[in-house]
């Protein structure tokens, strides 16, 4: 073991450079969007009309005072449906993000810390899952089994794991060899205690990164799936499905398609921006230099 003496902390002034980063405007705006979407998810009643009320007579109204974004082919109010759409628009990606983060962390910490065959086995399983693109599998599975929303979520969860496990595992492997973990081992702590109370807190920044990345990709992938008609039942006020159903009527009421598209992009961008910002603020805590 090359135990070459550690050099002096090279440039002490580098630690000074962490200027107090004032929160940029973009991040404030993004978090407002996310909070607003969350509120709408919890209180859909806020919407001006009943999102599922079908009234053939008022089909294809263009945006006006009564229907802010006009109505769709069955006369349902587009704005209310976008509001109701936050349920699947946010809930799905949220479940996906939480599920992926928990599972990926569990596997990565155990495999990273224990090493040996456990790590080798995880590596093999990841290679298998990595070789198959999640979207193709989701389409095949949901398409064939006619499965609903939950099956789509499950498939995206399972096949979304490999990338995140790899990210976390490399972070864990680096930290597992550092002195403060070896000190914990020599003090006599049990493996589980070390993994949970010593190792986990130091990779908190990565957990945040994985959460927000999966959340953003969740929004994009789930809306793509419902765009293809898989997952969410027809007629449900889900952004991806609304886009798919109203694309044929681009000329009667373009807002029936553009509205939900903007909703998807807005939430996805905001999640990305907030995620990056938290990661950069958090990341300095995990680093040792």
């Amino acid at each position: 073991m090359a135990d070459r003496p550690v050099t002096l902390s090279r440039h002490t002034w580098r630690t000074l450079r962490a200027r107090r980063r004032q929160t940029p405007l973009l991040v404030v705006a993004a978090s407002c969007v996310l909070v607003a979407a969350a509120v709408l998810m919890i209180f859909p009643g806020v919407a001006p009309h009943d999102p599922d009320l079908i009234d053939g007579a008022v089909a294809f109204q263009s945006p006006g005072s009564q229907y802010w974004l006009g109505t769709d082919n069955l006369g349902r109010d587009v704005f209310s449906r976008i509001v109701a759409g936050t349920r699947t628009g946010l809930l799905g990606p949220l479940i996906l993000a939480i599920g992926t983060t928990l599972l990926a962390t569990l596997v990565a910490v155990v495999a990273g810390y224990l090493g040996g065959h456990v790590d080798a086995l995880t590596g093999r399983v990841i290679d298998v899952l990595y070789a198959v693109p999640p979207m193709v599998v989701a389409i095949v599975v949901v398409g064939i089994t006619g499965g609903g929303w939950w099956i789509a979520l499950a498939v995206l969860l399972v096949f979304g794991l490999p990338i995140n496990i790899r990210l976390l595992r490399s972070a864990v492997i680096v930290r597992a060899r550092l002195p403060y973990i070896e000190a914990a081992r020599t003090s006599g702590f049990s493996g589980t205690r070390i993994m949970v109370f010593h190792l986990l807190p130091t990779i908190a920044a990565f957990l945040v990164a994985v959460f927000f990345l999966t959340f953003t990709y969740g929004i994009v992938d789930l809306s793509a799936l419902s765009f293809l008609g898989l997952g969410v039942p027809p007629g449900a006020s889900d952004w991806g499905r609304m886009i798919a159903e109203n694309r044929a009527y681009l000329f009667q009421n373009a807002w029936a398609t553009i509205g939900p598209t903007i909703a998807v992009v807005l939430v996805a961008v905001s999640a990305n921006v907030v995620g990056d910002w938290i990661y950069s603020r958090y990341e300095s805590r995990g680093r040792t230099r």
């Binding site: 003496p5 550690v6 002096l8 902390s9 002034w13 002195p179 070896e182 040792t288």
Partner: protein, 597 residues
């Protein structure tokens, strides 16, 4: 060492720097790191800039070359052989001034072969780059000049060479275009003792043969005194003293320089206690108004803190920045520190016994049949260069690494046998604990200092963990207030003390220190060594001290084991081994330490 005679006719200095100030973005606006730096080097002269970490010496070197990292700004004048460097000194870099950097493992481009690195800047007379064959031929010639005789090295990649070899390649590449000035920024800190002296000798020889000015940046006073003619001492971003090298260790006039010299452990005798410097270096932006060393200076008076202190010239090239320069302060120097007469080795019962222990990593044999004992209340040193296996021995003692073969008993329990049950390990854990080398990663960054210690106390049946934690902090010289600080807010020395407190939490019989002080500044090192000696006296615990620095081991160990390539080549009382070494390897080790007063 040859001290250079002053050049006959007053040729323009090879390098003249004046009024150089470097600022970096701080909390609110730009904060000065180094202020009003001045230095001059004559062609062929060797000058050192000495200072502890945080003194701004390294950033000054970068500023001279205008290679400051992103976000830092500098102002002031830099002149090479009379002409001003100006804002765009790119033309000058390489041709007029070059640099050798600290960490040989990251200085060379990993994807280029050695011959391309060395000859990258060479041009044929008509400005074209050298062809492959000429590059190879030219590289072999230049490598030979820096002491690499084997022509195959020219075709190798950096990762295939040892640390010392890479530094030689770095030097060859730096002096490719015969620069006037060579700046060596901590060139040997990352190297072993023997390689260090070889590189310093090489730099000295090149300086003479090429009449090249050498600016050596280092934290090691002995290296500076051994190689250079004149020394600038920097503290907290200011040059506080400029003096001829031979007066550095014996006749410094600034309190900080004197205390720094005194804190450097002597090789030939063991001192009662190393004189530490209380407090720590003020960070940029938080520096006191008057003399920057005043808060830590034993002789500070109100005059020192009132207004900024200017340099005063004492003649014969000796300047000091001290308010009380007139008075003759009784600055104690190393030679008049009280020596401790080594008492007989304490003969407590053996706690840890190693018999014929070997350790193999894949096909590499790290430890080859080592016998070793630690007795109660005793302090044992293990000395050796990197790769000698001393750390592996330590890690096996504490159970971090399995033993390949041989027996290792800790209080009668043989850790190598398979049936060491849970309580077997519990007794091993409560007998021996370890403190680690790298201060920045020895504490969990996500926990507070108090949290780390109370967490370790969870394994003992101490009733009130918070009180015991405060007590432990007190024991290592830190007040209870440190409990809710995060490791990032502590200095290197403070973090090592917390690590020692954590080890003591399991109140072990043996404290194993693996290179605990090698990453610390000399003054901080003194603190920690004194702390360890006090703990031995007050708690009666025994120490196993692993280091590559013979002078340090002299100050702390009763008995010493010298290891080379996995074997113990010599062991005995510290006094005998270090003053009258019998094994040729020990002799060459001692010889390679730069002579000192």
């Amino acid at each position: 060492m040859s001290t250079d005679a002053v050049p006959s006719q007053p040729a323009p200095p090879a390098l003249a720097v004046s009024g150089l100030t470097v600022r970096c973005p701080g909390a609110d606006g730009m904060v000065p790191i180094a202020e009003e730096i001045f230095l001059t080097i004559a062609p062929g002269e060797a000058v050192a800039v000495v200072g502890e970490s945080g003194s701004g010496k390294s950033v000054t070197a970068r500023a001279i070359l205008n290679l400051l990292p992103h976000g830092l700004e500098s102002e002031g004048t830099v002149e090479f052989a009379g002409e001003s460097a100006g804002r765009r000194p790119r033309g000058r870099r390489g041709a007029r001034i070059a640099m050798v950097m600290q960490d040989p493992f990251t200085t060379l481009n990993p994807l280029h072969r050695i011959r391309d690195i060395v000859c990258e800047t060479l041009r044929t007379p008509d400005g074209k780059r050298l062809g492959r064959r000429e590059r190879r031929r030219e590289a072999v010639r230049r490598l030979a000049e820096v002491g690499i005789a084997d022509p195959a090295v020219a075709d190798a990649y950096p990762f295939e060479l040892s640390g010392g070899m890479r530094q030689r390649v770095g030097i060859a590449a730096a002096i490719a275009e015969e620069p006037l000035v060579l700046i060596a920024d901590e060139p040997t800190t990352a190297l072993d003792q023997t390689t260090q002296s070889e590189i310093l000798a090489l730099l000295d020889r090149l300086r003479e043969t090429r009449r090249m000015a050498l600016l050596l940046i280092t934290h090691d006073l002995r290296v500076a005194a051994g190689v250079c003619g004149r020394v600038y001492v920097m503290y907290a971003g200011q040059v506080i003293e400029e003096l001829p090298a031979d007066r550095l260790l014996t006749a410094a006039r600034h309190p900080y320089t004197a205390r720094l010299a005194a804190a450097d452990p002597p090789l030939d005798r063991r001192l009662q206690a190393l004189p530490p410097i209380p407090g720590s270096v003020p960070a940029p932006g938080g520096r006191p108004h008057g003399c920057r060393f005043a808060p830590r200076c034993g002789w500070a008076t109100s005059a020192c803190t009132s207004d900024p202190v200017t340099l005063s010239d004492l003649g014969t090239g000796h300047q000091v920045r001290c308010a009380r320069v007139g008075e003759s302060l009784d600055l104690t120097h190393t030679r008049d520190l009280a020596e401790v007469t080594p008492g007989p080795a304490p003969t407590g019962e053996p706690i840890i016994v190693l018999r014929e222990v070997t350790k193999r990593y894949g096909h590499k044999l790290a430890v080859d049949g080592v016998d070793f004992e630690v007795h109660a209340g005793e302090s044992v040193g293990i000395v050796g260069e990197s790769g000698s296996g001393k750390t592996s021995v330590a890690r096996m003692m504490v159970g971090l690494e399995p033993v390949t073969s041989g027996s290792l008993e800790v209080r009668g329990i043989d850790v190598t046998s398979s049936k060491v049950g849970r309580d077997g390990w519990a007794t091993v854990r409560s007998t021996v604990q370890m403190a680690f080398q790298d201060p920045s990663s020895t504490l969990n960054p996500a926990r507070t200092v108090g949290g780390t210690i109370t967490e370790t106390l969870r394994l003992t049946d101490v009733p009130d963990r918070k009180a015991r934690a405060a007590e432990l902090l007190q024991m290592v010289g830190l007040d209870a207030g440190y409990a809710n600080l995060r490791p990032k807010q502590l200095s290197g020395g403070e973090r090592q003390r917390v690590a020692i407190a954590r080890a003591l939490a399991r109140d072990p019989r043996v404290l194993l220190c693996d290179e605990v002080v090698s990453a610390l500044d000399v003054s901080v090192q003194a603190h920690v060594l004194n702390l360890l000696n006090d703990l031995r006296r007050t708690l009666g615990i025994s120490l196993v001290f692993i280091t590559h620095d013979l002078a340090v081991v002299r100050q702390i160990a009763d008995r010493v084991y010298v290891m080379k390539s996995g074997k113990v080549v010599e062991h005995g009382l510290a006094g005998d081994v270090l003053s009258r070494p019998r094994h040729p390897y020990t002799q060459s080790l001692i010889a390679s330490i730069p002579a000192h007063a």
